[in-house]
Every structure is written in structure tokens, then in C-alpha cells.
């Protein structure tokens, strides 16, 4: 069955994403581990299959921090160069929860877009491979460490692209906690009002946030119904099933009057790393409680 070939590649890539993120979490004595466990298949599917991005040639090596954007900073670049040239028929990728940066960096490696050695620069002073990604970081195009601002920016990009006649889509990767933010709902209503059906939002619904489970911090459900009530189409799938994500987004190429689409990906924040489950419900940032705890993760890494 040839269509299974790509899903096998995605699953292999997802495994590599978890492995590399755990490696760096151990190296830095902490990190955003559960986000890798929940979103590995989503980002691997997007980068390996769903998104129509321009090729980059050979894998790129991240460049040093170029300074902030400002008049006269002619050497400035954004991390969008890892997503290929922004051409009319190609898609664009916008990362919203910037603390997922390491998951994106590792997905870029799996997609052959970033040199694996680039990860050695992660969280190193003077590097663009920052812990919380900004627009100079590999794979990033906007600065969205202040959560909830990327969807609005992506909607502006989508409108400008429609006005220009571009055929490529704008993909936005979001976390479920961002649906507690007022601006997210402002952006949803604006994108629906202006019929921005070249916009696709893919959400990692891992039900985890900094203080604990999403339902304990602030209820966002029923998310699907709420999003549809705001004028969007919504699909709910198993976020660890690459085939499911691909088939729901493949149906795009949609009529001009179609609604924009949100894909809610239900995920398990401990998928592929059972050891993590004992930290529940505090999964947002993994810290090792003791030497023995750390050692258990070293063993888990060897098993991956």
C-alpha cells in the first residue's frame, strides 16, 4: 500500500522529534517536553506531507542572531527562510505558541530543511535558535511569544495574499490554551467576516497549560461548537494519526465562499514517553526532581 509509505516516514520523524527534544531537555536540565510528545505527529505531518512549501536545497545552518528588525538593519532575516521562498503558489507556515520552537526546529531537521548541527546552537547565547522562538528563529516568521497574536497576523498575511491573487495557503499552528485569549476570538471573527478561506489553523489540543490541565485553569470546551459558531469550519481528529490530519486538510482547494478551517487535534501530552505521566497534571515544563528522576529519563532516551 504505497499511501502508507509517507505515514511510516511521518511516524519515524515523530519519533526522532521526541528523541531530540528529550536529548536537549536532559542537556539543559529542563524543557518543553510534553509539547513535543503531543505535537510530534502534527508537525511531522505538516512538514513532510500537508504543507506545500518551497524546497530549500541543502539543509540550512542557522545563522547568528541578526539584531532586531529596524530601519538600517540590512542584514536582517527571518526564520521563514527555512520554510522556503515565499512564492505565490506556495504555502506559508506560522508558528503561534513560540515555546514549541524546539519541536519546530527538530521537525525542520526531519524535513531536511535544517542541518542537524544547528540544534547544537539551541539556547546558546548569540544564536537565533532560541528557547522561545522569535521571528529570526528557524521556521518562525512572526514574533509571538506573547501568545494569541499570531492568528491575527496570519489573517493579515492571508488577506494580503488574497488581494495579490496568491494561490498558496497560510497554515497556523496553535495551542489549545490560546483559545482562552480574547484576541484569538477577535481574529476568528475577523477571518470569518472577511472570508479568509486560504487560512488553515491546526491546534494541538493537549489539554495542558502552565498551571495544570486546561479544564482546571479555564474551560474552553466545547471548542468545536464555539469555533463553528464564529463562522469557521471545524474538524476534530486524533492528533497522533497522520492520515487523519492529511485527509481533513487535503479537502482544501476549497470553493471561494468556503469558511476558513480549524483542525482540532486531540493529543496525549505523554505520548511516546510514559515516564512523563507521573508529573501530571504539571506537564508544561519538565524539570527533574532528583538525580534518580533525571537518570530515569536518560534510560528512557536510550530506549527511544
Amino acid at each position: 500500500m504505497p499511501h502508507n509509505d509517507w505515514t511510516a516516514d511521518v511516524r519515524r520523524a515523530a519519533g526522532q522529534i521526541r528523541r531530540r527534544v528529550l536529548e536537549h531537555t536532559l542537556q539543559h536540565d529542563g524543557g518543553y517536553m510534553s509539547q513535543a510528545c503531543s505535537s510530534a505527529e502534527i508537525l511531522a505531518t505538516l512538514y513532510l506531507k500537508s504543507m506545500n512549501l518551497a524546497a530549500v536545497g541543502s539543509p540550512l545552518m542557522p545563522r547568528p542572531f541578526p539584531g532586531t528588525p529596524k530601519a538600517g538593519n540590512n542584514g536582517y532575516f527571518t526564520g521563514a527562510e527555512f520554510n522556503g521562498r515565499a512564492e505565490a503558489h506556495h504555502d506559508r507556515f506560522i508558528l503561534s505558541p513560540a515555546h514549541y520552537a524546539l519541536v519546530v526546529y527538530t521537525a525542520l531537521i526531519e524535513a531536511g530543511r535544517m542541518d542537524p548541527c544547528g540544534l547544537d546552537l539551541f539556547n546558546q547565547d548569540g544564536s537565533s535558535v532560541e528557547m522561545i522562538g522569535a521571528e529570526h528563529s528557524p521556521g518562525c516568521e512572526v514574533t509571538c511569544g506573547s501568545l494569541g497574536q499570531a492568528l491575527s497576523q496570519a489573517a493579515g498575511i492571508a488577506l494580503a495574499r488574497r488581494l495579490r491573487g496568491d494561490t498558496g495557503r497560510v497554515w497556523v499552528f496553535m495551542s489549545d490554551g490560546e483559545f482562552q485569549i480574547g484576541q484569538t476570538w477577535e481574529a476568528l471573527q475577523a477571518a470569518a467576516h472577511h472570508r479568509l478561506n486560504n487560512l488553515v489553523v491546526v491546534v494541538d489540543v493537549n489539554r495542558q497549560q502552565c498551571d495544570g490541565t486546561v479544564e482546571s485553569v479555564m474551560t474552553i470546551e466545547p471548542l468545536e461548537k464555539r469555533i463553528m459558531a464564529f463562522g469557521w469550519d471545524a474538524a476534530r481528529i486524533d492528533g497522533h494519526n497522520p492520515q487523519a490530519l492529511q485527509s481533513v486538510t487535503k479537502a482544501l482547494g476549497r470553493p471561494i465562499d468556503a469558511r476558513p478551517l480549524v483542525v482540532l487535534c486531540d493529543t496525549d501530552p505523554c505520548r511516546g514517553l510514559e515516564l512523563l505521566r507521573r508529573n501530571a497534571p504539571r506537564l508544561h515544563y519538565l524539570r527533574f526532581s532528583s538525580g534518580a528522576d533525571r537518570q530515569a529519563y536518560v534510560q528512557a532516551l536510550e530506549a527511544l
Binding site: 530601519a71 493579515g156 492571508a158 488577506l159 494580503a160 475577523a190
Partner: protein, 335 residues
């Protein structure tokens, strides 16, 4: 003095005609911000964003990233107070080419504290990449579009609407970081901005009649503010400097001048007129300018304190001053 009405509305339509990259975003205050004629003339370039300013600011940044020049039209408070994080992170950080027209600067509205932008200069001039402009009359409302468009990056304009005087000759447009020198004199230096300049012109006419030499500068670029004209004016007065602005006395024009005086080690005495660490409330413009000490009378009282003697200036004397459009004493180029 010539009084004109709804200048921006028609001017924007003319100005944008051959600039296809210009789009207008509005948050349910389209007529109130004189963007209605643009909406009707170019419906394909007008985007209603609803009462949702946080989204509007970030959305505009997205448009700017793709080569559009979004002009945001709403009341100033809803730009910098309601959506400050979006303004700072989506717009200013990215040096996005978003131009913002903030209407109702200072106490120019009976709408009260919720509608009065009294701290916008303080917040926005400290924001990296941001350019801050303020118009003071009809000529500047007309010419601010060219000044703003020539800047590579975000620009915030303290904008005026409705009936406006033409204080400055129509053939002398506003220029970036170039103050207008409205009178020359060595006794005191007076620096004003926005609608306060009209008040100051009433006061300077009377002050001159008392034998005082007044160096009067009108400032319409609050950031960047590096003109040597300002530094020279601050260095020379016999008695000192008075600033008058439609903003808190802290953080705006007065503070900019104080920083310059300190940085250059000028050691000049300064009186900063403006709202003195207070919110205001809803009332008419003349009432509020009197109440909060932003008018010609407040200015003459400050000058009395500075020179240390009574000048015996009566309110009726100030009100009787007849203003004519003035030519700047300082010609940056032959016009």
C-alpha cells in the same frame, strides 16, 4: 484666520488615489475618524475590523509584512491603551509599516477619561522603532500623510478632526523632525505642540507687547526629536524655557526638552505645562484647557513665574488677539 472642516476626509481620498498599497482599517469609528469618504471611494481597500482593536493591530502587521500600508483609524486610546501589547510586539518589534491615526489626543473630547489620550506620547516615544507625530493645524493634517509615508516603519499620529484653523501657511508643509520657529527672541524659549500652539500664539502676541522677547517653537515630531533648532533654542534664553502640551506634563514634550537640557548640560530653568499627574473628565475643550492649565492664560502665568514679576495680562486681552496664518521664521529650504 481661516477655519476649515473635515480636512482629512477628502485629503485622504486624494492622497491615496495613486497609492494602491494603502488600505484603511477601522474599528467602528469610521465617520468619527473621517475615513468614511475613503471607504466610499475605495471599498476594496477599506476593511472593517469591528470593535476589536487587539486583532486590528496584529492584523495590520500581517498586511504590512506583505507590502501593504495599513492606515489604522480609531480613537487614540483604543490604539495604545487597549492594544499596547499588540502594538509593541506585532507592530513595533517587527518595524512593520503600519500607520496609526489616533484621534482625540489629550483633552479634546467631552467623552471623559476613557476617551482622552493623555499618556500616549509617554508610552509610544519609549517604544523602539516607533515614530510619533502630532499635528497642530489644517496644514499639518494635510501634510502629515507625506511625512508618515516616508518613514520606513510604524508611525503614530496624534490626529485632529472636525473644524481646524490654518495656523501655518499652506505652502509650508510639515517636515519630519523639523520644528517651526514662530517667533524669535532671547528672554524666554517657548515650545508647544498640537492644539496648544494656537493658545500659545495668543499669549506670545501679548507677551511681546510687554517687551519680552519670545523664541517660540512648534514641535510636530516628538520622536525622533534631534533637530539642532531645538537645542539652540534651549541654550539661549535669559529666563528659561516653558513647554505647553495637550498631554501629561510627564513623559511628553516637556520631558523630551528636560532630557535635552540635562544631556547637554544646559542648566536652564524649565516650567512644564500640561496635565499635572491627573486624569481629566468630560467637558468642553475651552473649559478643560482652562481647568487643567493648558490655555493662553496659564501660559502667561507661567511666564510671570519664570521672569519673577507680574505682567498684568488680563483674560480679555488674550481673547482679543486676532491670529493670522504664520510663516515659519526658519526656512529649511527656499520655498
Amino acid at each position: 484666520m481661516e477655519i476649515l472642516s473635515k480636512i482629512h476626509a477628502g485629503n485622504l481620498v486624494r492622497w491615496a488615489r495613486d497609492r494602491p498599497e494603502v488600505v484603511v482599517l477601522s474599528a467602528d469609528l469610521t465617520s468619527s475618524c473621517e475615513a468614511d469618504q475613503f471607504r466610499d471611494a475605495y471599498p476594496d481597500r477599506f476593511f472593517s475590523m469591528g470593535v476589536a482593536e487587539q486583532n486590528m493591530l496584529s492584523f495590520a502587521a500581517g498586511l504590512a509584512r506583505e507590502g501593504k500600508m495599513p492606515l489604522i483609524h480609531t480613537f487614540a486610546v483604543f490604539i495604545y491603551r487597549r492594544a499596547y501589547d499588540q502594538l509593541a510586539m506585532s507592530v513595533a518589534y517587527a518595524n512593520a509599516n503600519v500607520k496609526m491615526f489616533g484621534f482625540l489626543p489629550g483633552i479634546l473630547t467631552p467623552g471623559g477619561a476613557t476617551h482622552q489620550a493623555i499618556d500616549d506620547i509617554a508610552l509610544l516615544r519609549t517604544l523602539p522603532n516607533m515614530t510619533v507625530l502630532e499635528v497642530g493645524d489644517a496644514t499639518e493634517v494635510e501634510s502629515v500623510l507625506d511625512v508618515m509615508a516616508a518613514v520606513d516603519g510604524p508611525v503614530y499620529v496624534r490626529m485632529l478632526r472636525g473644524q481646524l484653523p490654518r495656523l501655518f501657511a499652506a505652502e509650508e508643509p510639515m517636515r519630519l523632525d523639523t520644528p517651526r520657529v514662530l517667533s524669535r527672541g532671547g528672554d524666554l524659549t517657548l515650545v508647544t505642540s498640537g492644539v496648544c500652539t494656537e493658545e500659545a500664539l495668543r499669549a506670545t502676541t501679548v507677551l511681546r507687547s510687554r517687551g519680552l522677547g519670545v523664541e517660540h517653537l512648534h514641535v510636530s515630531t516628538l520622536k525622533p526629536c534631534n533637530s539642532p533648532i531645538i537645542l539652540e533654542a534651549l541654550a539661549q534664553p535669559k529666563y528659561g524655557v516653558v513647554s505647553l502640551e495637550n498631554h501629561l506634563a510627564s513623559g511628553g514634550l516637556g520631558s523630551i526638552l528636560a532630557e535635552k537640557i540635562a544631556d547637554a548640560g544646559l542648566g536652564v530653568r524649565q516650567i512644564r505645562l500640561g496635565l499635572q499627574d491627573t486624569f481629566a473628565h468630560g467637558a468642553s475643550k475651552p473649559y478643560l484647557m482652562r481647568e487643567y492649565g493648558l490655555d493662553a492664560l496659564a501660559l502667561t502665568r507661567a511666564v510671570e513665574r519664570l521672569v519673577g514679576q507680574p505682567l498684568h495680562i488680563r483674560e480679555e486681552e488674550l481673547a482679543a488677539v486676532r491670529l493670522e496664518a504664520v510663516h515659519s521664521e526658519h526656512k529649511v529650504e527656499a520655498l
